[in-house]
Amino acid sequence: MRPILILSEVRFKKDGLKEKELQKENGSSVELKLIDSPVDRKKIEQILKDKPLGTMLILYTGGAARKRIRRAANSAGFSHEDVRIGKMDTGTYCIFCSQCHRINRTASLEKSIICISCGQHLEPSNHYSSFQDAYLGYPIL
């Protein structure tokens, strides 16, 4: 079993704890660390520095923090696949407007939305970009 480190922003503590319990039940050695936002990259580097080889990192954070942690993790030798995003109960999904590139928020992937920037009617898809941390919204004519 790979050791697991869960990094969770305080606001997602509940989700982080749930994940910790789940991983424990699966028999993994798991550690949960709560982090403040905005994320301090140096602190993250400090946390990651001594982790054993093969550790899996699970993140419960917002998009901006996620990018910073990913970069720090990559610098510390974690591969892309070593870093996973936890499923958070944020109640929102990010939708990338394919017309103007604005990222919109919505409560459901099932319903169409109107882009708050360009007014385009968009249909959310399940095409997800971990780089944008958003789902692609296709235009509806």
């Binding site: 591969s79 696949e81 990338f96 017309q99 590139h101 997800y128 296709y138 004519l141």
Partner: protein
């Protein structure tokens, strides 16, 4: 070859015939079977050329540069870690342009001092290799303004291929801004059936094993209604509505077979992958003049699985297209 060249040689063809002959001659017809099949149809190229200069060079470069000027954020994206490979690509393409088309381009490199001359456009680029202060644009953005191809740089990291830079002016319904930074496999998620039997994993494995200095080519086809080369997802509301306008009477004028000649090249210095896309359009009225192409095209459209037709955007007018092709077949049979 341009149509003026052919006209001079024959002297007997009328202008319409001449244009048709020229378009058909240079067109990379994609179908090799009379039935749609799903495959990685890549072949190695010898000589290993990543780009092609055609008679449409000046027109396409003019369009490309207009798009880059007006919509730069849409047409060019890069991550900082792509710079080394961008430099390598610039050198590679300037070299290739000059060595394959010496009458149109020259390239000299003395130490790190470089001079590229584009005689077709009467321009030159002087720069010092790997010195960003000597160029006004990023290297990929600069060299892309001298080739007809769209250029995509896939960074080969130990855990997959990632889209790290691109100059994309003529996409077929996709967005560079969205896929920037994405992994190869995730980019292709919307393609129907791509996950079946580990197909996408096999393709990625294939690309990751391409040897430095070798070029592999495949042809990818779709259909564009109207003759627009630039059909990005960002302007779908402009060009997508034309799909509703196709009838069995106007299909020959409106519908164009769109073929992307895609080439993959492993960069010897940085080990990343250069992906070039040269897009060709052929009006259906021209295509049906070539009997074997017409038959093959008809069979492929007819046997196209519904989910692929939907993905390629053909579903809206597939019935009208087939009716047009069958009407043409009937006319031919009657000898009209």
């Amino acid at each position: 070859m341009g149509y003026y060249g052919i006209f001079k040689i024959t002297g007997r063809l009328d202008v319409r015939e001449v244009i048709q002959v020229s378009r058909l001659n240079g067109f990379p017809f994609p179908f090799t079977k009379d039935q749609y099949t799903y495959s990685n149809n890549s072949v190695p190229l010898d000589p290993a050329k990543t780009i092609t200069v055609t008679a449409d060079y000046k027109n396409e470069l003019e369009l490309k540069r207009k798009l880059l000027q007006k919509h730069h954020h849409r047409c060019f994206r890069s991550l900082p870690l792509s710079m080394e490979s961008q430099w390598e690509i610039m050198l590679l393409l300037f070299n290739e342009l000059a060595s394959c088309n010496p009458e149109s381009f020259t390239f000299q490199k003395k130490g790190d001092e470089c001079l590229f001359q584009n005689h077709l456009l009467e321009e030159e680029e002087a720069f010092v290799f790997r010195d960003v202060s000597t160029i006004a644009l990023e290297p990929l953005d600069l060299v892309g303004r001298h080739v007809q191809e769209d250029l995509i740089l896939m960074g080969d990291r130990h855990n997959g291929l990632f889209l790290e830079a691109g100059q994309l002016c003529f996409p077929s319904n996709w967005s560079l801004a969205f896929v920037q930074g994405m992994e190869f496999k995730s980019i292709h998620n919307p393609v129907p059936g791509i996950q079946n039997d580990g197909f996408i994993d096999k393709v990625e494995r294939f690309i990751s094993k391409i040897r430095p200095g070798t070029v592999w080519e495949r042809k990818n086809w779709s259909i564009t209604v109207t003759n627009m080369l630039d059909t990005p997802l960002e302007t779908y509301s402009v060009w997508g509505k034309h799909r509703q306008e196709v009838t069995c009477e106007n299909a020959g004028d409106l519908i164009h077979l769109r073929v992307e000649v895609q080439r993959l090249f492993r960069l010897p210095m940085n080990h990343d992958v250069l992906f070039t896309i040269h897009t060709y359009l052929l009006q259906l009225n021209d295509l049906i003049q070539q009997e074997s192409w017409f038959k093959s095209f008809y069979q492929n459209i007819k046997t196209l699985p519904e989910e692929i037709a939907e993905y390629k955007g053909i579903s809206t007018y597939r019935t009208e297209l087939i009716r047009f092709l069958e009407n043409h077949m009937e006319k031919e049979r009657r000898g009209q």
